[in-house]
């Protein structure tokens, strides 16, 4: 079963991440790299990807005279996708356990961020009517 683990945050949340010390960021990345290595070893790793900072985000809606209609206006509460992990696991519980590990990755001062991770299955299973 393939699951996507989504990390998201508001612009304010991203600003505070950008203000972390280099040491805190390195420690955080080290945890994520360990998780990636473990998932690769267990055969569950499919992909991980980070996204650019939200101030570059655009929303496109239709087109006029052959040109896309583009704007970058989002509500302040908008949660932007920061990055994701795709895993292939035996059960939803395993996906939640991996998400728990990502959520426990350290933040400022070496404390777990406890960041919420949204866990979603890919639409390969029959959809309800």
């Amino acid at each position: 079963m393939k699951y996507i683990l989504l990390m998201s945050g508001t612009k304010a949340g991203v600003q505070s991440y950008l203000a972390w010390s280099q040491k805190d960021r390195d420690a955080h990345m080290a945890v994520l790299q360990t998780v990636a290595k473990e998932l690769t070893a267990s055969g569950e790793f499919i992909a991980t990807q980070g996204l650019a900072v939200p101030h570059e985000a655009k929303v496109v809606r239709g087109e006029k005279d052959g040109m896309p209609i583009t704007d970058g206006i989002f509500p302040e509460s908008k949660e932007f996708l920061l990055g994701y992990w795709i895993v292939d696991v035996q059960s939803p519980e395993r996906a939640y356990a991996i998400a728990g590990r990502l959520s426990a990755a350290t933040g400022p001062g070496g404390l777990p961020t406890n960041m919420p991770i949204e866990v979603r299955q890919f639409a390969t299973h029959p959809q309800p009517k």
Partner: protein, 131 residues
């Protein structure tokens, strides 16, 4: 440059979609298939995925003992990811143009859905954040 094009919607939007007629759904799916094929033929296609229904979504946080704390409680305004495409293009403008095509996918009655598509650059590595 890699970009991700994301379709999102609230639970209410998904409920609306689930009520589309079979004909409308079929037209939309055909468009999506054709669209993905065009992306492949033009060499910009990297990946596409559709996600399961939002009522199956869970939110996980780490507990004190390392056990995951799971709930499925989201605000009503929460926008859920419905699906995405990743494309590899020459410029942001090209990504916006492709997003506009996706936005024009037919909705009920065959009219363009004009669904908003969020366009974000995908990082090659964490170093691209230039911290």
């Amino acid at each position: 440059m890699k970009y991700i094009l994301m379709m999102t919607g609230t639970k209410a939007d998904f409920d609306g979609y689930a009520r589309w007629s079979k004909e409308d759904l079929q037209r939309n799916v055909e468009f999506m298939r054709r669209f993905s094929k065009e992306l492949k033929d033009s060499g910009v296609f990297v990946a596409t995925e559709g996600l399961g229904w939002p009522h199956e979504a869970k939110r996980v946080r780490a507990g004190k003992d390392g056990e995951p704390i799971t709930d499925g409680i989201f605000p009503e305004s929460k926008e859920f990811l419905a699906g995405y495409w990743i494309i590899d293009v020459e410029s942001p403008e090209q990504a916006y143009k492709i997003a506009a095509r996706a936005s024009s996918a037919p909705g009920p009655g065959g009219k363009p859905g004009n669904m908003p598509i969020e366009v974000r650059q995908v990082l090659g590595s964490h170093a691209d954040l230039e911290l």
